[in-house]
Symmetry: C2
Subunit: 527 residues, 2 copies
């Protein structure tokens, strides 16, 4: 099939959707049957339920056509097979390969890239085993009991969110092998606070920077090294406490300053790197290779589902299409992600990067300005906490904000108590079910201050339990949703030119030469 890349407003179905100019009323369409039927498997035991979205049969048919006209699934297949999808940087996009074989082999300099990722995985699995068995110890002979990841952005948010999401599960399963901490911000108080609690002798530091040139990360690693040297611990050698995750061509690769290095390459973008060595090293150290492999398996399931041609079988595509409908037809510039699971408390921060950095673009893949809204802003906090915070605006504010709920039948640790006739987990889920219904149907009241209009759309991703497998599927579902939206909008979801200018100006200031007077004036305010 010949792929044709065109802006979404050139697609006939998009124009039909614009012309349609009406919304279904959830008060009249929402029913038990609809709730049971508008549900799709999303991999890893998860289901995507979109019964409370503002769609009906006619809209769904047009959205399916829109996906076909924009060749969303065909382009995903091309991406997997090594088409240069990161057009700006002229790179392939191969993060799906980190979790399993999908599509044809893709070669670089005669080397199968999927195999390369697998080799790296086997290497860090073996490394984790050596650490866990005590074959490899710190420089003073003590067993490593904690890991500190030093990285920022994609080298921080995803791995951190996944670590926090699985810590309780692993503890319950007796598989929490090492504590993990994270240093990201160049603010010295970040490194200072993490290192105040650290025993250097039993800690392994993981420097994560694909380019090997990230200012914050190199600064923080030097910070760690200097503090280790100042610690006065006899025999402590920083080199024996440090490993790197980087690309083979970076200045850090095979550096004698590191115990070992694990590699990624340019075909894995930072925000898509959680399932590569970027997330894999720290998660394998923390929870063991087995749990990390389960996470990969869950992600791979979701990746395979995303190849289904019809949105009626492809949850990530359906989610993407409905999101585009909300963004461009309903005109909503914002989305909230609301996990009813405390373990996912930093997952929205990861999705914020994933979505906003991928699709916060004003040009199409050819570099031409687009005339429609692209990626929405994303925020979120766990329920029930959010209910006592910003839900007031979600229910009764003057703008409609589409919602993505996430929930699980069982709690993670499994420990619970029945109080006032119900467990905490049941209370949690009763709150979640109540919110979905409240946003959809609202409640009439003669007092306008107590009136809830309803018709505020939400979806629900749900499963039995937050396990490594379901978490992997959840992660990949969102990655694939964001990818599909980028393909629908005809933008490049894999570069980030918008972060460059700040870096350049920062260097100007720190370079200390003749600086722009505006920069100097702002710097003066902070001096």
């Amino acid at each position: 099939m010949v792929l044709e890349y065109k802006n979404i407003d050139k697609a006939p179905s998009f124009r039909k959707l614009q012309a349609l100019n009406r919304r279904p009323d959830l008060h009249s369409v929402l029913s038990e049957t609809r709730i049971r039927s508008l549900s799709l498997p999303a991999g890893g035991g998860l289901f995507y339920n979109y019964s409370a979205k503002l769609v009906d049969e006619e809209i769904l048919v047009l959205l399916e056509k829109l996906g076909e006209e924009q060749q969303a699934v065909e382009k995903y297949r091309a991406l997997i097979d090594g088409e240069v999808m990161n057009t700006g940087e002229k790179r392939m996009v191969l993060h799906h390969r980190t979790r399993g074989q999908l599509g044809n082999s893709v070669l670089r300099d005669g080397r199968d890239i999927g195999k390369f990722y697998d080799e790296q995985k086997e290497r860090f699995f073996a490394f984790a085993e050596k650490v866990h068995t005590g074959t490899l110890t710190g420089s003073t002979g003590k067993k490593f009991d904690s890991a500190v990841q030093v990285g920022i952005g994609g080298s921080d948010l995803g791995p951190r969110a996944l670590y926090l999401a699985l810590a309780g599960y692993a503890a319950q399963a007796g598989k929490h092998r090492m504590q993990a901490r994270f240093i990201s911000n160049v603010d010295p108080d970040d490194a200072g606070q993490v290192l105040a609690d650290i025993n250097f002798e039993t800690t392994l530091f993981i420097l994560v920077s694909k380019s090997g040139t990230t200012q914050e990360t190199l600064t923080n690693m030097e910070f760690v090294i200097q503090l280790m040297k100042q610690s006065g611990i006899a025999g402590l050698d920083p080199k024996e406490h440090m490993i790197a995750v980087t690309s083979e061509t970076s200045p850090l690769a095979s550096s004698p300053d590191y115990l070992d290095s694990f590699y990624i390459d340019d075909f894995i973008g930072g925000r898509y790197s959680s399932t590569s060595a970027v997330g894999g090293v720290v998660l394998s150290l923390a929870f063991g290779p087995e749990l990390f492999q389960q996470l990969l398996n869950g992600a791979h399931e979701a990746d395979k589902l995303a190849l289904e041609k019809r949105p009626g079988k492809n949850a990530a595509l359906a989610d993407a299409l409905i999101g585009v409908y909300e963004r461009n037809i309903l005109g909503c510039p914002l989305t909230a992600v609301l996990p009813y699971s405390q373990a996912l408390h930093r997952f929205p921060a990861h999705l914020q990067q994933l979505d906003m950095e991928s699709n916060g673009k004003q040009v199409n893949r050819f570099g031409e300005p687009v005339s429609y809204g692209t990626g929405p802003a994303v925020f979120g906090e766990p329920g029930t906490n959010g209910q006592h915070s910003f839900y007031q605006l979600l229910h009764q504010g003057t703008d409609i904000i589409p919602l993505q709920f996430v929930g699980f039948t069982e709690s993670q640790a499994g420990f619970d108590l029945s109080i006032d006739g119900s467990t905490s987990q049941k209370k949690l889920n009763a709150n979640l079910a109540a919110q979905v219904a409240a946003f959809a149907l609202g409640k009439k009241d003669n007092n306008p201050n107590k009136n809830f209009q309803g018709n505020r759309p939400s979806s629900l991703l749900h499963g039995e339990k937050l396990t490594p497998r379901s978490l992997g599927a959840l992660l990949a579902h969102f990655e694939n949703k964001v990818m599909f939206q980028g393909l629908l909008w005809n933008i490049n979801s894999f570069d980030q030119e918008g972060v460059q200018l700040g870096k350049v100006l920062t260097k100007q200031i720190l370079g200390g030469g003749d600086t722009d007077p505006i920069l100097t004036a702002y710097m003066d305010l902070l001096s």
Copy 2:
């Protein structure tokens, strides 16, 4: 002066602003002089700099008139003096009194309310002293070394954000007396994870619920009690490890199940309660009464500044007016708060509640629907982390999102290293200055993908250092900004009817009687 409450679109200046229909171009107006002159003291040593906002002399004059026409400062004065500003619930709004005497005495049943708050403060200060000196110990005779706050929403987000903001400062000053932890979510994994690390014998639990009926909080407290009972520690008596912060009329007041109770009342809304006993008890236990008093002093300074009639001397009012301009004239439904201080990493979550729960309203103070946008959605993460995450969309997305930066000359802990010619703190601030300039001025590039249009507005709240005093001022600045915006929009910023429906439906589900089939169907998905 007679106060007249009218919708903002009835104000002549608002219509003039709408008619103006042009934006200043920061490329032509931004100068060193503008940067130095568009700056206002905000209390506690802070300054509010709005040089990079899309305003000019003509707009600022109209905004000042708008503030006068809406009688913003006069209404603030009336609020302080006890006018019933929470019209829906028919309550006064008196949180300013928790940090100092302001305006006339306000009586309830012949009792001076300011004095009542002061008495409570003296009581919890004395209680903290008894704990710190070891006069009061746990039931097995051990000194308390940690506190766990059990609360949700306003009883959690503000106190937690302030605790995290001051932990490093207090440690550095040798005044970190007790660790504090927080349990909020009804998810059993939240309480489970916090309690897994707790030594019951040395822990004091603080139950915080104004009404004494909050489902999550009562459930979690019962969770704690049952776990204490199951711990098998000889002599451990839950009653001697629990205090309450509640209202005098709540079922918890003077309960024999608690060691002591500290009181607030209906005139302090949850999201405005951080400076009352709700935040005061845990912060005084953690850092001592002296540091908490400094925080109150900083907030009081900001409260006094907010009484200045002209926005040219009143930072909170200026911030509020510019925000209204961005919301209603520029049409921006979203704001990001970006603190360049890792210690403030949960401060945006508090502001999210403060702003979105206060002003996410669709009716005016009389209960009539409004025809203009009210409170924006708020999100944020610390810089420089956010730069490697969602800043792509802020710089190059298709929508403009106004920004509020926060920064400090010095780091909090004071420990820093010079690496590559600059300290981490200098790098942090160089990044901040670079971002303000980059958003304002952008950078032309012939490649549209590398082009930055600029004219993306931001403000900068800055000070010497994040101390208890400057933190108190920062907190009060935002509280007062949100209050002024509510007064300008003619809405009631102090109720939250939008959270009620979810509570009612949750009770229906948990009640187990005949439930709505829609609720049952969603509950089935999660069962």
